[in-house]
């Protein structure tokens, strides 16, 4: 059964106090080759994020979950629909406006190995957004030390290259870069899926701590229901370019209403033999 976003979650209609408000967003990618048909990646997606709120966006690979974040950031062209950020329509913002927006809108990517330029020092990478906003080189360097401290990295990290750091440490650098301009919204695109279990937990705790202290909002994109449930106030489930269900984290991840969410939930194994046996039996019965 197909459900429009409005049907799926009445609470998702709109929020007057939303920081980010996305409505009926459609994104298409050109097909490969000459005159190949376009593929629609997002088929009318609606969501909002309020100040200090985390909206978790969960889905499988190819569901379009990352594309939503990239569209908000202006990294993919928007076909139709609206993206309103802080009261301003930004879906077709020009490059100059985009540069100004980067003060409030930031990103943490999945892969901490390719999201840092391997030939630039950590300090150089962290100073980049500051310099982009016209901060002087000297002041930028001073702020870098504060940022490193913010993400619990040693201050001598500034002079070193990314290859000297582990995955978790690199992801801390990426977090520090995103925080450099004190943004209002950070798009977290699978920020912990490349990390080990124990590292994952410390990075998530760091993100929560920063949110409590600064009131930043997160659009938290992940394929992992457990991570999304832990991080998000509300959760949206996306399947084949459409949001099938939105609601409070506890509701969506324990009493899902949509069939797809239920399948997803039952397919995610839990680290408990008896619990997992029950889940598997339920999944077998449900399908």
């Amino acid at each position: 059964m197909k459900k429009t976003p409005a049907d799926a979650a009445p609470s998702d209609a709109t929020a007057p106090d939303a920081l980010l408000d996305v409505r009926d967003l459609r994104v298409r990618f050109p097909g490969k080759g000459w005159r190949a048909p376009e593929t629609e990646v997002l088929e009318g997606v609606g969501l909002f994020v309020r100040p200090g709120e985390t909206l978790g966006l969960v889905g499988e690979s190819g569901s379009g979950k990352s594309t939503i974040g990239r569209a908000v950031l202006g990294l993919v062209p928007v076909r139709s629909g609206s993206i309103t950020f802080h009261g301003e329509r930004i879906e077709h913002a020009d490059p100059r406006r985009r540069r100004a927006l980067s003060r409030d809108l930031q990103v943490i990517f999945q892969d901490p190995y390719t999201s840092l330029n391997p030939s630039r020092t950590i300090g150089d990478t962290l100073a980049e957004p500051l310099i982009g906003q016209g901060t002087g080189a000297r002041e930028a360097r001073g702020r870098v030390a504060g940022l490193l401290e913010r993400v619990h990295l040693p201050s001598d990290a500034a002079g070193r290259l990314p290859r000297e750091f582990s995955g978790g440490q690199r992801q801390r650098v990426a977090i520090a870069r995103a925080l450099a301009l004190r943004p209002r919204l950070v798009i977290c695109d699978e920020p912990v899926s490349a990390l080990d279990l124990t590292t994952q937990r410390t990075v998530l705790d760091l993100l929560l701590e920063i949110q409590r202290e600064t009131g930043v909002s997160y659009l938290f994109v992940s394929h992992d229901l457990a991570v999304v449930r832990f991080m998000s106030h509300r959760v949206s489930v996306i399947h084949r370019g459409e949001i099938v269900e939105t609601g409070d984290a506890a509701t969506v991840t324990s009493e899902p209403r949509h069939d797809y969410t239920r399948t997803l939930l039952l397919a995610s194994p839990v680290a408990d033999v008896a619990g997992q046996r029950r889940r598997r039996a339920a999944a077998g019965a449900g399908v």
């Binding site: 106090d17 309020r50 100040p51 200090g52 709120e53 985390t54 499988e60 690979s61 950031l73 202006g74 990294l75 490059p95 985009r98 540069r99 100004a100 927006l101 980067s102 930031q106 990103v107 990517f109 892969d111 390719t114 840092l116 330029n117 030939s119 630039r120 957004p129 310099i131 982009g132 301009l181 080990d196 279990l197 124990t198 994952q200 937990r201 949110q211 409590r212 009131g215 229901l225 457990a226 991570v227 449930r229 832990f230 991080m231 106030h233 506890a250 991840t253 324990s254 399948t263 997803l264 397919a267 194994p269 839990v270 680290a271 408990d272 033999v273 619990g275 997992q276 598997r280 999944a283």
Partner: protein, 578 residues
């Protein structure tokens, strides 16, 4: 920055240092021509034509009685200056357009590519000859035309590299950081193209010099000015009378070009080969020492038994770095053993040791691995290969990169079957169909004809499991077989493993970091940390009542039981910080 280091590497390379010194010498000599040569290159005294070397004229005189040294030095100015002009034009045209085309893509890229293909299709020599006929016999004009003709090589080089860099996440991150395109190009893109451009400059300079000399030699040059090519031409006309005339311009051209090509090679080596490789020790592979007796005391399982396994990698300086320090584990028939650990724990190294497939530089230094009671540590490569075909099988993490995109699924499944079981084409096809049926692929006949890019990741992993099962192995080594898959597909693949275990009595060594996967399929678990097994037990025991502190840390990081976050409340941030 690595520029200084690269330069030092170039100069430390004997060929690089020598060619750089030679080039410097040539350029300096040419620049200092008025100081070194006492004569004017055009001044001729016919009475001294073909005169040999003398005090005033160290290299002798040419057919018109002009000083050869002066002509070589002044000619070098024209020749090298011309090459420089061609290079400057080529760089000015090729590099910026390549940058924009690669970075922006779209229409400019298409238009630029069309133009470049057109220019490259033109025969350079014909265009040069024609342009000389139309524009006049001027060296500089010729070199400008040459510059335009070689500009595409720079365009293509730069465009290709930039298009790659543009896809990097750090460029996206820079965009989101609010950097303008020019700044992104300067900070992130130019640093990457710099090295290849330098190499290309050296090569194109050589080509420009050779082409220009070639034209002059054919008599297409300006004739009036001294150049190395014109000198060659003149020497060639008098080759019967004074063969030595050909020596000096030939030497100048040869040395300059040699130096340029060698320098380009040295720069490439310095840029590409940043890390020293460990010394190859393929042949001298000492058999691993037996494990300490204490380890061997434990009773050994029927199928796979590992005792006191240590794995070490050779460092560049010849010493060994041990990454696995004495691992014991057992897999019985019909049992799935989970080998759990975080990245760098040595779990994959252990699995590869069993397969005999450690990456280059790695080897089993101590311990014993028995498969069906037979010792395999230190086995010869040929014997290990036979073992891998029949008794051991392997399922990798990335299904897609383990299928060859150029062959159909059918041919990739049939090839090993024909090789190992000696089946004919027809029987192999039947066997492949049967295997796909075994891994529950719905339409085997259709799937056999498909190429890897036409199937999904989950299907690809089934195909690989089918391939692993082709010779009816007893032990399957699966290295994170579901990590790259979505949870729904993961559940299906795990079901398949469970079924193969139950129906065929297959033993599985399942390497994973996912404790949910462990709970789902494993009978027993070995937890690995920093190259050691810290705890082994039944899945219920390890997940339910772990004894080792590391296992507890690992389980504490699992988010399954963490409460869902409470609903958002306005001003949450302020009330907390206040």
């Amino acid at each position: 920055m690595s520029t200084g280091r690269t330069l030092r590497r170039v100069l430390r390379n004997p060929l690089g240092g020598l060619s750089a010194a030679l080039l410097l010498l040539i350029v300096a000599a040419v620049l200092l021509a008025p100081v070194i040569a006492s004569q004017d290159p055009g001044a001729s005294s016919l009475s001294e034509a073909f005169a040999g070397p003398s005090g005033d004229h160290p290299l002798g005189m040419d057919s018109a009685g002009r000083d050869i040294l002066a002509r070589i030095l002044y000619g070098g100015r024209t020749t090298l200056g011309g090459a420089l002009l061609a290079l400057a034009i080529a760089l000015a045209l090729g590099v910026p357009t390549g940058l924009v085309a690669g970075y922006r893509g779209g229409r400019f890229d298409s238009a630029a590519n069309w133009t470049v293909n057109l220019v490259m299709a033109l025969p350079a020599m014909v265009v040069l000859l024609a342009s000389r006929a139309i524009l006049g016999p001027d060296v500089h004009v010729l070199m400008i035309v040459l510059g335009v003709l070689v500009a595409p090589s720079f365009f293509r080089l730069v465009r290709g590299i930039v298009a790659n860099v543009r896809g990097e996440l750090y460029v996206d991150a820079a965009k989101v950081s609010g950097l303008s395109d020019t700044r992104i190009i300067a900070r992130h893109v130019l640093t990457v193209v710099r090295g290849p451009i330098i190499i290309q400059v050296a090569l194109v300079a050589g080509i420009a010099i050779a082409l220009q000399a070639g034209l002059e030699f054919l008599g297409v040059g300006s004739g009036s000015t001294a150049t190395w090519g014109a000198m060659l031409n003149e020497a060639f006309q008098n080759i019967q009378r004074a063969p030595r005339l050909i020596l000096w311009p030939g030497l100048a051209l040869g040395l300059t070009n040699c130096a340029l090509v060698l320098l380009a090679g040295a720069v490439r080596d310095a840029l590409e080969d940043q890390t020293p490789r460990p010394a190859r020790r393929r042949r001298a592979r000492p058999a691993p020492e037996p494990a300490e007796s204490a380890d061997s005391a434990a009773p050994r399982a029927a199928l796979l038994s590992v005792r006191g396994l240590t794995v070490a990698y050779a460092r560049p300086d010849g010493t060994d770095k041990e990454v696995v320090h004495g691992v014991d584990l057992d897999v019985r028939p019909g049992e799935i053993l989970g080998l759990v650990g975080e990245s760098g724990s040595g779990k994959t190294q252990t699995a590869f040791s069993v397969l005999g497939l450690l990456p280059e530089g790695g080897r089993v230094t101590r311990g014993s691995i028995t498969v069906n009671g037979r010792e395999t540590a230190g086995l010869r490569e040929r014997d290990h290969r036979a073992l891998r075909g029949r008794t051991l099988a392997y399922v990798p993490q990335e299904p897609m990169s383990n299928l060859d995109p150029a062959f159909t699924i059918g041919s990739q499944l049939m090839e090993p079957v024909r090789h190992h079981l000696g089946l004919g084409r027809k029987e192999a096809a039947d066997k492949a169909r049967e295997l796909l049926h075994l891994v529950e692929i719905p339409d085997p006949d259709r799937t056999l004809r498909l190429y890897p890019h036409e199937i999904s990741g989950g299907m690809a992993q089934r195909v690989l499991i089918a391939g692993a099962m082709s010779c009816d192995p007893e032990l399957l080594i699966a290295d994170e077989p579901t990590t790259a898959l979505d949870v729904r597909v993961q559940a299906e693949v795990l079901d398949l493993l469970r079924r193969l275990r139950d129906e065929r009595g297959l033993g599985v060594l399942l390497v994973t970091h996912n404790l949910g996967v462990v709970a789902d399929v494993c009978d027993r678990v070995a937890v690995m940390n920093a190259g050691r097994i810290v705890e082994t037990g039944t899945t219920e025991q390890i997940l339910g009542s772990p004894r080792d502190p590391y296992t507890r840390t690992l389980l504490a990081a699992v988010l399954d039981d963490a409460p869902a976050r409470a609903p958002w409340q306005p001003r949450e941030a302020r009330t907390v910080t206040a």
